[in-house]
């Protein structure tokens, strides 16, 4: 009996060794672990299906990197988080890879009867925003401040941990309005109506990517970021509603 156990465990070990060998022969193109902003959930796998993605609030992903959770690349929905991690020596120098715009959305049928962004302060309205520190939450605060509508934040029905949570609450009709990126609104077209935000109040929504310093695949991580900047990837990003790279 125990001999059989020994034989089968030997087989398992042999299989694992074979697998490791196979993995080693593929080491030229390692499968990267990419931590990316929730708003990139649909588009990144279309650009590069080879990598392993973990999508979430950029600040949660940055916190995971700070706690030493292994990742190869971080793509944040802002430039400040990668810059912070760069200053701490946790990632390589960040590069801006794409840009976006903020919009207000209401559920299909507009149950809160909003006629414009100004109506978002109407009493009794359930408005959902990203939490402070979450990129979309910070952009939302910037927009509302520019439009002199900051009271909305204090009366928000929920402060969500990433943009897709805001999107879901509005698309499901639980909230009367929410602030998301234009690209998120597109993914649930038909379930939400979009109110554009005037350019004068529009924040600078830029996504910065960086290779994680502790990654064993630094070169591949840099190559991944270069691929994001290449015309093919930029075309797919624009097709999803992201903005062309800002010229600098």
């Amino acid at each position: 009996m125990s001999r059989r156990v020994l034989v089968s465990s030997a087989l398992v070990v042999a299989a694992l060794a074979a697998g490791a060998g196979w993995a080693a022969t593929r080491a030229s193109t390692p499968r990267l672990t990419v931590f990316a902003a929730a708003s990139l959930t649909d588009v990144l796998p279309k650009i590069d299906p080879h990598e392993r993605y973990s999508f979430g609030g950029s600040n949660a992903l940055a916190a995971q990197i700070q706690q030493g959770i292994p990742a190869d690349v971080l793509v944040s929905a802002n430039t400040s988080l990668p810059r912070q991690l760069y200053a701490q020596g946790l990632v390589a120098k960040p590069v801006v890879v794409t840009a976006n715009t903020l919009v207000m959305i209401v559920p299909h049928g507009n149950p809160g009867r909003l006629h414009g962004i100004q109506d978002v302060t109407k009493p009794g309205l359930k408005v959902v925003v990203g939490a402070a520190g979450v990129p979309v939450g910070d952009y939302t605060r910037t927009v509302l401040a520019a439009l002199h509508l900051s009271s909305v934040v204090a009366h928000a029905a929920s402060q969500e941990t990433d943009v897709r949570e805001v999107l879901a609450k509005v698309a499901l009709g639980e909230a009367d309005a929410g602030f998301v990126y234009a690209t998120d609104a597109r993914t649930v077209a038909g379930k939400v109506a979009v109110f554009p935000i005037p350019a004068s109040a529009q924040p600078r929504v830029e996504y910065a990517g960086a290779a994680v310093a502790s990654s064993p695949h630094r070169a591949a991580a840099q190559a991944f970021l270069r691929r994001l900047l290449a015309p093919a990837a930029q075309r797919k990003l624009r097709a999803a509603g992201f903005l062309a790279l800002p010229r600098r």
Binding site: N59, A62, G133, E160, E174
Partner: protein
Amino acid sequence: MSRRLLGGALVFAAAFVAFAFLLVPVVAIFARVSPGRLVGQLSNPVVTDALAVSLKTTAIAQALVLLLGTPAAYLLATRRFPGRALAVTLLELPLVLPPAVAGIGLIAAFGRLGLLGGALAGLGIRLGLTQAAVVLAVAFVAGPLYLRQAIATFEAVDPDLVAASRTLGAGPGRTFFRVVLPLARNGLAAGEALAFARGLGEFGATIMFAGSLQGVTQTLPLAIYQEFAVPGGFDVTLAMSALLVLVSAALLVALKVTLQWQPSRRTSRFLFAPSS
């Protein structure tokens, strides 16, 4: 002989790994920062607000579970009817459902576009993203734990004692409160302790159906999740985690003590065999 020795060593090694694996994360919560700093973090308004929301919603949810669950469990334990096994299984289903599925179910049922959303809206009620939604989420995931234990407990009550009470002239209500309930007290308390612990830890269904708002719907587990994403917020998450570990441990110990103590059985022996 040496093979037996090897076998023994393997068993001990496996036991050690299992023990260490389950214990190290709990110990690590307390090991990472000094107890003084942990206690200091507890005065953070995020923590006090989350604690207040957790206590309030859990208390209301557990009151609902006790008030509605106890009669339901008693009926299911004492009546025999076709489909009873199916009914009990269905009531236990939320117990094994993933919390995310519970959240989707609650939205699909009570959300504005849900099955009962229109009827609720007609009454002027909107549950999504409110404190009531937290209560519903907690009651939905924790209730079955109490229900299950309560059914088993009521089934274990000696029917002869109930019959004796009835023949001695006590009505069904009096029999329930004076005979059945005292006998079932420990089992019900144990079920309630389990439900309380599960309700306190509710996360998935709450964040989906009730959202997360400090002081309104943000319970301790939600606050831990949100603070984790705040740069430098790890100490606060550790403090809240430590608090939940202590409360859960206290509930577990209370549960074990309650289940071991059997005063009700002793009472019945005394009542019915006073000469012994």
